[in-house]
């Protein structure tokens, strides 16, 4: 009789090797992403016939003279081959860089994502500065959407076909389909400018300064963002619950004399939540890389708004910085999900 040894996958050594392998893979992916971003930025304009000066012309004022454009092209290094420019970027990441601001030279310690082509501000401090906003937004919204989405999904599944089920699934469909800039703008007009319940767009207070104000300011963005996600989670939870509640082990749990609440939560939901965990990890990872639409709609100075501005301004160092940070978050999130998966579902082996 075959009796496989237990706990094989969760042995520390195996887990460590797994993590190391994943981290190495993640680094490789980040390198590819950075090269692709860099390539898009330089190669596409070159296909369209852009000279270094033509590219530099984006970063000067109106009616700048050819001399000014040339100086700027030179300062931004556009005259060098793309490979050299990429090398400079990578060197900045690992060894730091220097920035000549006219009246002096500033050291930019590693990891140096460079200086904005537009504002001349170092990119890394800006990214760090904006992380709390995005984290606040993502975490608050995540709490709401997971709680709301999962509970609605569970109730809908248990009362399948009821009025509640039909109403909430209809709402969920709307939630999935309606874009944030629509729901966000509508809720601002109604709740902020109409009823005056919530602060206007652009309200942001640091958690450390005033937690109550922090939460109050973020309430509407949280709910708007959560609405979008909760909808999907409700639908997924409902489907998952319908499936698990039909499983044999649910019948077993009932046959043991377990109370229905425990049957639903401990046996049904526990299993239905596993696919949701994966989805959540990816969603959350993407979100902390920048809740682009929500931040833009509500004028929240987070990574998403930063990304949009960087792209709109074609500000390569900022684009690189925010792309790599966002990709890094997704990679980390998916690694955590995979590790958690092994914890949640004992049948999963890390390999």
């Amino acid at each position: 009789m075959a009796c496989p040894a237990t706990g094989q996958a969760t042995r520390p050594v195996a887990v460590l090797t797994y993590i190391i392998r994943r981290v190495v893979g993640a680094f490789a992916m980040l390198i590819v992403i950075s090269m692709v971003t860099f390539g898009i930025f330089f190669v596409v304009p070159q296909w369209a016939g852009a000279t270094p000066e033509a590219m530099a012309a984006r970063y000067v004022g109106r009616a700048a003279t050819p001399e000014t454009v040339h100086l700027v092209a030179e300062r931004l290094g556009f005259n060098d081959p793309v490979v050299v420019q990429y090398g400079r970027f990578v060197k900045g990441l690992f060894a730091g860089a220097q920035y000549d601001y006219g009246a002096g030279v500033e050291q930019c310690p590693a990891p140096c994502f460079g200086y904005s082509f537009i504002s001349g501000q170092p990119v890394w401090p800006d990214l760090v500065d904006r992380m709390p906003v995005t984290f606040s937004l993502a975490i608050g919204a995540a709490v709401i959407w997971v709680l709301a989405g999962v509970s609605v999904g569970v109730i809908s599944a248990l009362r399948r076909g009821s009025f509640f089920d039909r109403l909430s699934m209809g709402t969920a469909l709307a939630g999935v389909s309606l874009p944030i800039f629509f729901t966000g703008m509508i809720s601002l007009v109604v709740f902020s400018y109409g009823l005056g319940w919530t602060p206007p767009g652009g309200a942001w207070t640091d958690l450390a300064v005033n937690p109550l104000q922090w939460a109050y300011n973020l309430l509407l963005p949280w709910i708007t963002l959560a609405f979008l996600f909760a909808a999907g989670y409700a639908r997924l939870t409902r489907a998952g619950m319908l499936e698990t509640m039909g499983e044999d082990y649910i019948r077993t749990a009932r046959a043991k004399g377990l109370r229905e609440r425990q049957v639903v939560v401990k046996h049904g939901l526990r299993a239905a939540l596993t696919p949701i965990l994966t989805l959540f990890g990816i969603d959350f990872g993407l979100l902390v890389g920048g809740a682009v639409l929500t931040e833009t709609t509500y004028t929240l100075p987070g990574l998403g708004q930063f990304a949009i501005l960087a792209i709109r301004n074609q500000d390569l160092p900022q684009v690189m910085g925010v792309v790599l940070i966002a990709a890094g978050f997704v990679v980390v999130a998916s690694l955590i999900v995979d590790l958690l998966y092994a914890v949640v579902d004992p049948r999963v082996r890390l390999s």
């Binding site: 000066e53 033509a54 012309a57 004022g61 009616a63 601001y101 006219g102 504002s119 709609t297 930063f306």
Partner: protein
């Protein structure tokens, strides 16, 4: 374009202004004598165009302002946005500035740091400005002529300050080996600008130039203390010479201005400095910004270019909201460049065919109609430009185009069956896209087949419509375009878009006008010292360009501005072509 300044080219107007400014004891604002605290003003459409709306002298409160984008730079030596010039006067003072307040003389200049307007000598090659006494920076150190001269000199370095205008780089007689105050700190730049004593700034020009007073209203003349100058980082903390100074400045997010206690109101009759505090948010969602102005959460849309389409749809049909709006004509032309680089548009008759075939009304509609868009334009210079004349060389029935005349022109061009070409537009600008479609439809009636191509704004001039190689290799014949005046005279408006000598390989704003006669007339007009004669010459330039058929005017733009709730002392200023920010107060 987004930036503008104004230079009232008319010397007579300038002279009149000098008189009124001196005689009037400094002409602060044109508010009625009974100036209350601002309550009870009856809102009405266009109420702030000809007079101060809701006048007030009440000090205190916080002015809440927002910008849907961000400054190019807060540094006076590195900025070129019209709103930046306007708003910057909260924290800087320049040698001269536009006369604050509403009405037609808002586009004339008055002394600010200077005691009087500039004194020209050497036939207009040397300009001397005397500073007022009692001027101080925010740290209490006196503002001297040296600080002004240094500020002008530092703005020369376009590698460090690539954004600002380069008029002074071109006009002044800079030493050959001068590369800027940082790279060549030892080179004396007194051949261009110098402080002959603590209160005297002297500019030395390469050739006579009559309108120096209008150039020095630009912020390059705002003083910068040399020992506080940090080059490209100076924008993080500009040392104030105006009534407000920076309390905090988070670049990319916003900043707060508070009262500068070293500013002496007695040296500055122009600025009532009403609010105690000015809070500015940047990169605010444009539609939300409008909503906040409508709702009263914000006082001021700093860009001052008007409401977004979404808000227009809300404001215009609502009488109560419309009563809070002003609808001025601004010195801006939306147009289509008719580009002579490729066959058959190198033939003037083919260009004329485009002129005749275009449906001007459809084009105006594409740009938003008479209120949101602007008046139907028949020639290049917009009405707010000094001396502008309206004429129409291509008048058609009801301005809807004339297919027969277009076909005649095509026959004269040797293309009786029409031709094919490409029209570009900025894909992120729906109105330009609508214009391109209107043109496509109208021109097809005459047999001219247009292919439409949209490109992003950010690289439109550098890589596409303004890139000569691209235009030539991709058979670009038409390009949607728009231009706002740097200052409201012929030179300020026309020079950059019709002088063929400004054309370079990439980044052009003159996309289509390549005409020796136009260039000759420009030189003539720039050199003409008599303002009336000069204005006439600029009208000649306008006519010559229209004869050349290389610009198809669409609309003379109007903006729709909304007065913020709780805002006092609001007046539209012609020179700024937006509300005069330094007058504003809050209830």
């Amino acid at each position: 374009m987004r930036r503008k300044t104004a230079l009232a080219g008319a010397a007579t107007a300038a002279l009149a202004l000098v008189l009124s400014a001196c005689g009037g004891g400094g002409g602060s604002t044109q508010q009625p004598a009974q100036s209350a605290s601002g309550d009870g003003a009856q809102p009405a459409f266009n109420a702030a165009l000809t007079q101060v709306f809701n006048p007030s002298t009440k000090k205190g409160g916080t002015l809440k302002a927002a910008n849907y984008s961000d400054w190019d730079s807060l540094d006076p030596g590195d900025t070129y946005y019209g709103y930046s010039f306007n708003f910057g006067r909260f924290y800087w003072r320049t040698l001269t500035t536009y006369k604050p307040g509403p009405g037609p003389d808002g586009n004339t200049v008055v002394p600010d740091l200077a005691e009087a307007l500039g004194e020209a000598s050497d036939g207009g090659k040397t300009w001397t400005y005397k500073l007022k006494s009692g001027l101080k920076f925010e740290d209490g150190t006196p503002i001297t002529a040296k600080d002004v001269a240094y500020a002008v000199a530092r703005s020369f370095d376009k590698e460090t300050f690539p954004h600002g205008p380069s008029y002074l780089n071109e006009l002044l007689d800079w030493p050959k080996d001068f590369k800027g105050v940082y790279k060549t700190p030892d080179v004396d730049y007194k051949s261009a600008v110098e402080a002959t004593d603590d209160t005297t700034v002297v500019f030395h020009l390469k050739k006579p130039f009559a309108s120096m007073d209008y150039v020095v209203q630009m912020p390059m003349s705002a003083p910068v203390p040399k020992d506080k100058d940090t080059g490209a980082k100076y924008k993080e903390h500009v040392i104030s010479s105006g009534p407000y100074k920076f309390e905090k400045n988070e670049i990319g997010k916003g900043f707060t201005l508070v009262r500068n206690d070293q500013w002496d109101a007695s040296t500055d009759p122009l600025r009532p400095a009403l609010p105690d505090r000015i809070e500015v948010q940047v990169n605010v969602n444009a539609d939300d910004l409008d909503n906040q102005i409508i709702a009263g959460d914000l006082h001021l849309d700093i860009q001052g270019t008007g409401l977004q389409p979404a808000a227009l749809g809300k404001v215009l049909p609502d009488p109560a909201l419309k009563a809070r709006a002003d609808n001025p004509t601004i010195p801006r032309l939306w147009y289509a460049s008719v580009i002579p680089y490729n066959k058959p548009l190198d033939n003037i008759n083919c260009r004329k065919a485009v002129m005749w075939a275009a449906d001007r009304v459809a084009n105006q509609t594409a740009f938003g109609g008479p209120v949101a868009g602007g008046d139907l334009a028949t020639n290049v210079l917009p009405p707010p430009i000094v001396g502008q004349e309206k004429f129409d060389l291509y008048a058609t029935p009801e301005s809807k185009g004339d297919v027969n005349k277009a076909k005649e022109a095509l026959t004269a061009c040797g293309q009786p069956n029409g031709f094919e070409t490409t029209m570009t537009y900025r894909s992120d600008r729906p109105r330009e896209k609508a214009l391109a479609e209107a043109m496509q439809q109208a021109l097809s009636k005459a047999g001219i087949k247009l292919t439409l191509k949209g490109f992003p704004s950010s690289s439109y001039f550098s890589d596409y419509a303004g890139n000569v190689d691209y235009v030539k290799s991709h058979n670009i014949g038409l390009a949607a375009h728009g231009w706002g005046s740097d200052w409201p005279d012929g030179y300020g408006f026309l020079q950059a878009i019709v002088d063929s000598r400004t054309i370079r390989p990439a980044g052009n704003y003159n996309l289509s006008v390549k005409n020796d006669e136009v260039d000759k007339l420009i030189d003539q007009a720039s050199a003409e010292l008599d303002a009336t004669a000069r204005a006439k010459l600029w009208v000649e330039v306008d006519k010559k360009v229209m004869e050349d058929a290389s610009i198809l005017p669409v609309v003379w733009a109007k903006s729709l501005l909304l007065r913020g709730k709780g805002l006092t002392n609001i007046a539209y200023n012609e020179g700024q072509s937006m509300y005069d920010y330094i007058l504003l107060g809050v209830e």
